[in-house]
Symmetry: C2
Subunit: 921 residues, 2 copies
């Protein structure tokens, strides 16, 4: 354990890389309680390799082996898929150590060694890359293993499994277009049909002769499909497998996955070669997976599942439904006891919930792998908070550990209690992904993607899922499977993505052919509504309406008491730690008193963006607004604005009341005026009649106001410059409302924000109006105001001349929506036609409209910060683009040294958590 | 002459300002051959003040006086229109020196002094600010002056003139809304009517009694209109006048003028107080203006005009038509001889054409003012080139002195010889602004602005022009006046703006009331066509077609031999000096072989921007292009692209041929695809029939391709990324054309430019295609290519990550059109609604789409340059936005250290001259 406490994977990467490169050490051995590597070497050894080393060091029963580093992966891709010359010798040397440790040798005629070859990236990418088991098998070895184990069926089954995997992964024998089944599966089914007249005859019932025949037919298939013979030489097998695993880093599935989770391509994968142990050596053997706590709910129970007489992939593949781990206590009490000791050891050592794979070989327990378990947002909070209560981790650790976005999970709607009571429950399964989801049921990933693309809400129902379904799972609101347990692919993905998921709902029958789902006598066709409750593991026919999350019910509705919700209690405990830890303030984007109240309940420190134009769309106001726009001259405009003034004043007063003295950043009119006018003929006529003008006049004005690129047109402060009377009215509304609320003894802190400033003098002219009106109103109402005037930095020029702008601006708020559009020259509304291709082609790592483009937009933000502070050292800096609620962007804002971020009310807790994490990092 | 050679006004400003501020010297005396100031102190003393000092120093007969510095103007505006406390004492001291020098005293009962008070900014702003003459006159002084001069009529006329000016300028007695005439003029006309029954009775015929009556009525008018009495105290008069002149720096006219000529507001004006001398003391006195060479044609003749028995403003105002200067030799031979000596002295000293004002007071010559004369573009070139021939100035001086934009004057169309021969000449006047202009005649500035705003071409015809007409003069194609000479306002403005102008065409009668123009029996109504030849001074009824300028006829048409055109000879001499002096290369933006040939004739060093999409609009090509856009899949797209390939190849081959080995920057497809599709129903149906598809399919595709902000949409390299087959076709066309031309033994240097790059990998992917296709074609055609691949820097992100982009880009070309739009968040097409207001309000100094916004866009260019060179020190840098032909932008590009600018063919000489000036500065 000497290195764990110093660990910090990514920071150490470069120095390790360098020293490793210098010493050219590409292979790290582990076994017999000793390991060349350690748990903090994830960047170099991958997650799995580092863990195998660490597990070996802390005394877990790990089968010996070695890890080929991620540097070799980088080398592999930089050098046309070749290896460093020294690699071969290092592998031979490590292999010799393994052989010595277990007393077996690869391809040996006496004691042949079998190994697994697995990928292992820095971050886990479950099921994305390839794995080879039983490597070392050949026509000779199979006989020896059969003799030695006294179980020729197991030997031949291992061989045929190996052939199948190797043929598929290394030699590329895969389903061709037009084929219904995997070719190896077809061979098996064909044989079963031939010999048993039933292609669904169970695999486990095949006899030695069947398996020998399969081995021969598999070898023939490989030769026929590839023109090459299956290699009998175990070393040739080994290098073939290593190359295939490195190669699988770049397969389609892995690329999709990396893009979704923002894993850089250049990290690469390591390859782990490890002695095979067998869970399929009869009834005294087993294999399973376990979590030290429940990964869906976070409850502190040992959680997992196993299969007797099986290999690991049988569990994950979901072909046989595994048994809950509790039953192992009855079936293999000794192994179960050892497993509980391992569980305790793991949590004590790793201080986090672990996801482990184990095998029992003839009653002896082996731990094949352990890693921090993926968990739902609900579980993440519960586990972290409870581990603090157990004094296993510090509050800081708890904060750092919970992915900020996962709080969305706690805040997401749940099913409405009344509606759910009335709904027809048709099945139950494992509650693999908490939350409520309703949508049209579909039975294939393609259909899910297609319908979601049209804006429909879909639920993906599959017998079981596989990595090929990933795109469909991303597109769906929720996932339902009829087969597979807590470690099935569906459960895994749901945990990671925070998807609502019910898995292994065995009462359901899914017919892919007919596209139907049948349960409890109800049959749903594709497109029919289905609802799933991933917290309870329940499936309902039809649509069920949703209700706010428990936390919302406590904080906002008041319909639930805090002490009645365990989830709320954990959440509020966490948020109290978060508030102590964070440096950044979190404000909210809110335009109505209602929204402000919600945001304040969620802990917002004020308003970061109040869009005044939203107020103009309601009821009669839009008429006055339109009258203003249609006005032929200034007096007419002023007259119309006078009608708008009382509305704005009332809204501002409501907002100031709701804020209880917190500051409110109020942005002056921003959108182009044509957005307020009706564009079709009928509406124009109706408006004309209402206002008593000619319809033609309205049509003409709409035509005049038409813009080729409204995003870059007459909007923002450009309106207030050309029509200063608009700014004047808005300033008056702000200050009259402030005077009104102040008169009631409440503090009011308006921060008036001028949008779309690019030239220092634009701001100056608008600020002059604000100050003048403030003075006028103060005099009229016999009061004083404490207020700030500042600007948005939302076009590149503003950032570049921020020193000049800061002469007048008392604060900057980065409007990263528009700043992204202008800096990238990319319209958010129009980017849908090419941005998906940009993600596919690795041109953008993440959607720049979701997470701040740190290299581009971020640079301008740095420039603006530096120039702004040069002129006005204590200038207040914030962000009010939608990025303000996205964790990586919040962290970037903390690094920039902003004073606050602002986001939508429901994202305030997420932003706060991200802010606390940034402060602690 | 001690300081002139060291002079360099603007550079010295700050140090002078500082030292002056330290010593608090605000007043500079000149007189008796000595002066506190000098010619190189323009920033401090203004142009006029510096010149008075310099003129005094070199021995010209200048009436003594003193200058109040521009610093006082700055102080005046910074301190609520008050003065530094020390100013009063300094003025008194200087005034005492003047009084001593001339032996007169302000307000003295024996020998009263009269002075003029005039503005004088760093750069001349003719007619924009206010002037007061005859200051010191009052009820007592008028009597004494009358007695001493023996000319009471002159005394009383001076007094009434002073009252009129002082009343208007200082006391604000001006025309009110609804009044037809200036109030003082009304009083005069009323008196003439009363006493002579004719309000057009000549001013000069009024007798002493009339003038005394006018003085009384003027004083009454002032009292009535302002409630204040006219101040009898000369010192009160002096301070009133000084304040009014400083105040006039900020009047509307002056602000419009400064905006047009980019004169900073903070420069301020100086005030010159100078002893009055009188050209109106009878027939032995005169006043006039002269140019040392002809300011319209540049010919080396003494050029000017004068009036006997008149004051200076009579000449400029154009009320009496002055006589040509040559006649002075007969009327006042001695004064004329002295004037010729002064002319020689001035050109020898100032080494530039001078514009001087003189007065002859009782046969004695005084020089009131001299300055570098404004001149037309034609004159600028001729004078500079001839002064080099005369060894008066160096070639470098010649280059530096010619405003680069003025070359447009030499390249502007002239009237077609045949068309002009057939046209009806209706009048002749002074050839005040060379060139040809045809347009609809209008008679007011307002109408000129209105019609020009609608895109109509107008000629402004006025009896005479005044500063109030400035906006109309700017809007008009040309200016025609029926009154006024070479120093009239119209002639002055025409010279400065390079406007076509004929002035003083006395055969023309203009009736403002009826809105007609009559000459030679022809009457034109407002809106009728009129044509003027400003080179010959001729006026034609109707529209006359134009022909290319002489230079174009020599260089491009070949329809004129170079040795037959003096203008061409001067031009080509200048350009040969320019080519030796400049560092920057000048390329051209050209899309056809024709354009390339023109540009090469004008001296372009290659193509800086070839827009390949322009080639897709011609003839059948648009059909293939549309077929490509409508294609449902890649194979169909490739098929359509194969049809386009031969067209592109042919165009490129033509361009490579025309370039004769010069480099060609070829930009790949840039505009969004919807620009190529028809948008109305009828055209869509026609296209559908042509392509054999459903009209609905086309409508659907148009709808799909619609974008909210096409400027920020799917265009530029985003097309080549999503449809790599397009880039592939374009690359193939380039290299197949290159191979074809190379086979003929010509050198070909393509530089392929990828547009709208923002992310380094965009460029990488496109460059990979180019290299691959180049290698393929080289192999197919058994040849080799020398080519570059680079990118446009036209969105802010590209500038910010230029270091990354430069890893792949061999050159950057700044696309400042789009870079300005994105950096400013301002659509060029939509900015018309607010940019005029921005100019009015001083938010922008110049139109950022005309001249590079150096503080904003320029900063990004600097960042890109620095980052680009960091990665690739020898990266080629250029600019291909339309700014590439604008002189201030060219100079900025030189300062940035770019390798070339690129502009439209006809602006190549302008850009070259600007480049040479930049290199010499």
């Amino acid at each position: 354990m000497p290195t764990k406490t110093k660990s910090s994977g990514s920071k150490k990467r470069s120095s390790q890389t360098k020293s490793a490169a210098k010493s050219s050490r590409y292979v790290y051995y582990f076994g017999d309680g000793k390991a060349d590597g350690a748990g903090n070497m994830k960047p170099l050894l991958g997650g799995k390799g580092a863990n195998l080393a660490e597990m070996t060091r802390i005394g877990l029963p790990v089968p010996p082996g070695f890890t080929i580093t991620t540097e070799v992966c980088a080398y592999f891709y930089d050098h046309k898929r070749t290896y460093p010359t020294v690699l071969k010798a290092q592998v031979e040397s490590a292999l010799a150590k393994v052989e010595k440790s277990v007393g077996k040798k690869l391809g040996d005629r006496e004691r042949p060694l079998l190994v697994s070859v697995r990928s292992g990236a820095r971050d886990s990418m479950p099921g994305m890359m390839d794995t080879i088991l039983n490597l070392g098998m050949n026509d000779t070895v199979v006989e020896i293993v059969g003799q030695k184990s006294g179980n020729p069926k197991f030997a031949w089954d291992s061989y045929r499994r190996f052939l199948q995997m190797y043929g598929d992964v290394v030699m590329g024998v895969q389903k061709r277009a037009g084929e219904d089944h995997e070719p190896f599966e077809s061979v098996i089914e064909h044989l079963k049909d031939e010999r048993y007249g039933n292609h669904q005859f169970p695999d486990s019932q095949l006899n030695v002769d069947d398996l020998q025949e399969l081995v021969q037919r598999f070898k023939d298939l490989i030769k026929e499909r590839t023109g090459k013979s299956f290699p009998q030489d175990p070393r040739a097998q080994l290098w073939g497998a290593v190359g295939a695993v490195f190669g699988s880093w770049n397969n389609d599935r892995a690329n999709v996955y990396r893009r979704k989770y923002g894993i850089p391509h250049e990290w690469g994968t390591a390859v782990n070669v490890q002695t095979m142990v067998f869970g399929n050596m009869g009834d005294s053997s087993a294999t399973g997976v376990a979590f030290t706590r429940d990964p869906a709910s976070g409850e502190k129970v040992f959680y997992g599942e196993y299969l007797i007489d099986a290999q690991g992939e049988d569990v994950v593949a979901g072909v046989r439904t595994p048994k809950p781990i509790a039953e192992l206590a009855k079936e293999m009490p000794a192994a179960h006891r050892d497993l509980l000791k391992v569980r305790a050891l793991l949590e004590k050592h790793f201080k986090d919930m672990q996801d482990l794979e184990f095998t029992v070989e003839e009653n002896r327990l082996y731990i094949l792998q352990t890693r921090n378990g993926k968990r739902t947002g609900l579980a993440a909070v519960r586990i972290a908070v409870e581990m603090v209560d157990e004094r296993l981790i510090s509050k800081e650790d708890a904060i750092k550990r919970i992915p900020a976005d996962s709080l969305a999970h706690l805040l997401a709607p749940i099913f409405d209690r009344k509606s759910i009571a009335a709904a027809k429950k048709i099945a139950t399964g494992l509650p693999a992904g908490p939350g409520a989801a309703s949508g049209q049921v579909v039975f294939s990933a393609e259909e899910a993607v297609r319908r979601a693309g049209r804006g429909e809400k879909v639920l993906l129902a599959r017998i079981e899922t596989s990595p090929e379904d990933l795109r469909g799972m991303i597109a769906a609101e929720g996932i339902l499977t009829s087969r597979g347990g807590v470690s099935s692919h569906a459960a895994l993905v749901a945990r990671q993505m925070g998807k609502v998921c019910v898995c292994g709902a065995s009462g359901i029958e899914i017919d892919y052919q007919k596209r139907t789902l049948t349960a409890s006598g109800v049959t749903l066709k594709e497109g029919d509504y289905l609802s799933i409750d991933g917290t309870a593991g329940e499936v309902f026919a039809g649509e069920v309406t949703t209700a706010p999350s428990e936390i919302v019910q406590v904080l906002v509705d008041g319909s639930l008491k805090g002490d009645k919700s365990a989830t709320y209690k954990q959440f509020s405990k966490l948020m109290s730690w978060v508030d102590r830890a964070r440096r950044l303030d979190v404000r909210t984007n809110a335009d109505t008193p209602e929204q402000v109240r919600n945001a304040v309940a969620f802990g917002a420190c004020g308003i970061g963006l109040c869009r005044t134009e939203h107020m103009f769309f309601e009821g009669d106001r839009i008429d006055a607004m339109r009258e203003m726009i249609l006005a032929e001259d200034k007096p007419a405009r002023v007259k119309a604005l006078e009608k708008l003034l009382p509305y704005q004043r009332k809204d501002f007063a409501g907002i100031f009341q709701a804020l209880e003295g917190l500051p409110a950043t109020i942005r002056f009119l921003d959108p182009p005026l044509h957005e307020f006018l009706p564009h079709d003929h009928a509406q124009q006529s109706a408006l004309a009649e209402k206002l008593g003008v000619e319809a033609a006049q309205i049509a003409r004005r709409v035509h005049e106001l038409h813009e080729f690129n409204p995003m870059l047109g007459h909007r923002g402060c450009r309106l207030g410059i050309v029509y200063p009377e608009i700014s004047e009215m808005q300033a008056r509304a702000v200050f009259e409302a402030a005077a009104e609320v102040q008169k009631k003894g409440k503090k009011v802190r308006p921060e008036i924000m001028i949008p779309l400033v690019g030239f220092p003098r634009e701001l100056k002219l608008q600020i002059d109006i604000v100050h003048r009106v403030a003075a006028d109103v103060a005099k009229e109402k016999k009061t004083k105001f404490t207020y700030l005037v500042g600007t948005m930095i939302e076009i590149p020029r503003a950032a570049l001349v921020a020193d000049e702008i800061a002469k007048d601006a008392e604060f900057f708020s980065f409007g990263t929506n528009d700043l992204t559009q202008t800096t990238l020259g990319m319209s958010r509304d129009d980017s849908g036609t090419f941005l998906p291709a940009y993600a596919e082609l690795d041109i953008v790592a993440t959607n720049p409209f979701a997470a701040i483009d740190q290299n581009g937009v971020g640079k301008l933000m740095e420039i603006a910060r530096d120039l702004g502070r040069k002129t006005r050292p204590n200038i207040k800096l914030g962000i009010c683009g939608e990025h303000g609620g996205e964790p990586s962007s919040v962290k970037f804002c903390d690094k920039l040294g902003l004073d606050y971020v602002s986001c939508s009310p429901f994202r305030v807790p997420i932003a706060k958590l991200a802010a606390a994490q940034a402060a602690l990092s």
